[in-house]
Subunit: 236 residues, 2 copies
DNA sequence: AGCCCCCAAATTGTCAACAATCGAACGTAA
DNA sequence: TTACGTTCGATTGTTGACAATTTGGGGGCT
């Protein structure tokens, strides 16, 4: 049950859809550098599609907040900004806190069981050394966990807002920082699952908010130790 | 300082943009019935624009969640759903709670002062009887208040997510229900502003969440007393 | 009658050409 | 040299026509 398989499901039946998914993947996997301007004729030729279809795909990317667009000027991949990352953490704290509360209330027994199993797998996986550089979209333990909790909230719009829109940005930033999955995060995950298992929504929310805030602080510390070159050199 | 003047600012420089704003306004003001299918040739002819530009506008509407679209089938105005309304309240509770907390931390003295004045005007306005049926987009006291608090959070993305996306839906539903501004809401607003004035972010969040939850309950009671005809007769 | 297949009309997706706008290079003048 | 205005190339916005798909109805078969 990988993240994208559920959240970005349906087959692309239309060319614009396929372009959207391809470009989205390319951006999230780092195939396109942050801040780069998108040339419509160039991209359309590269993918062998018409400019019209490409423009529709770009429109969808704009709604995912992966590109910004200005009239008569063009679109460009979003660029890296620490402030924006911090803003996203604040929003995640609020929304995922609520998601955890709702998950504790609404998850089926089966879903709780799946969540516990997921955590079990992560616990074993962290003991065995994982090869670095494996920054593929799938198999990010932290993302899988959060996705699972969000899905348990049973609030369709909340799920869409988080999984489709906000988590694209989370991936975007995560790829360009370090994958921030620490042993501490695992412990926090366990506490949250405990609360959900006990159906303690209040506690689940408190713990999830604490976890997101802690992740934010970890990211902030990490950012302060990075050189400017490692951070924001997105030219062109 | 009307709601839309700030949140949906810039002039439309492009035809697709103008179409988007016109259609959005039309949907939010009730000019287009909920659930109705959108005929591209018909609408394009009615507005005297090309189908391509119209399609781009529809794409933007889709991202605002005001229309839903299925490939090869077409777009239609979102339809009325009590479940969706309740989902939106849950999300608002989380996000606006956070917004209130941030507003208490980050608002300038000037902004706090403006907020207090806004409340003062509402207090006087509610004593004088307001004419019903004036469901225009501007001058909804409740929306103005919430907008002001959200704006004070200084979190640009949070502001966009709430003001641009979610509050369009709030208006959509509010127009088709009663404008739910009760004296109780005014009192709750006052308490929130007190907390913000004291820079008590924790309390501001608690009170805002309480307020949103209370609004949700008021709406739910109202919905239970409505006949099915008043609710969901959105044919075609 | 009920069901299935097929066809036609309408609608949506896609494309390539045209018009409008922006950015940069160049030249000129102070 | 620097600043400004102009012109040209390139990019984006817009349009109308073409291709692919869905929808609705009519006819035939069981």
């Amino acid at each position: 049950m990988a993240f994208r398989s559920v959240c970005q499901s349906q087959e692309p039946v239309t060319i614009a859809d396929r372009m959207f998914q391809d470009l989205r993947r390319s951006i999230l996997e780092g195939g396109m550098p942050a801040g780069k301007k998108i040339s419509e004729p160039e991209l359309a030729a590269a993918y062998g599609v018409s400019r019209g279809s490409l423009r529709e795909a770009i429109g969808k990317l704009e709604n995912c907040n992966l590109v910004t667009r200005r009239p008569n000027i063009g679109a460009r991949i979003i660029s890296f900004s620490i402030d924006q990352l911090m803003e996203i953490y604040q929003i995640r704290e609020a929304m995922e806190g609520m998601a955890a509360r709702l998950a504790a209330q609404n998850m089926t027994e089966q879903e709780v069981h799946n969540l516990q199993e997921l955590l079990e797998r992560h616990r074993n996986a962290t003991t065995t050394p994982e090869q670095p550089g494996n920054n593929s979209l799938k198999h990010d333990p932290d993302l899988d966990f959060h996705f699972c909790v969000i899905q348990g909230s049973q609030n369709e719009r909340l799920i869409r807002m988080l999984c489709q829109d906000l988590y694209d940005l989370v991936r975007f930033y995560r790829l360009r920082l370090n994958p921030g999955f620490t042993p501490k995060a695992q412990i926090e995950h366990e506490l949250i699952v405990d609360a959900i298992t006990r159906r303690d929504g209040e506690m689940a929310e408190v713990l999830m908010r604490h976890h997101v805030r802690a992740s934010r602080n970890r990211a902030q510390i990490q950012l302060e130790n990075m050189t400017p070159e490692e951070l924001g050199v997105h030219e062109k």
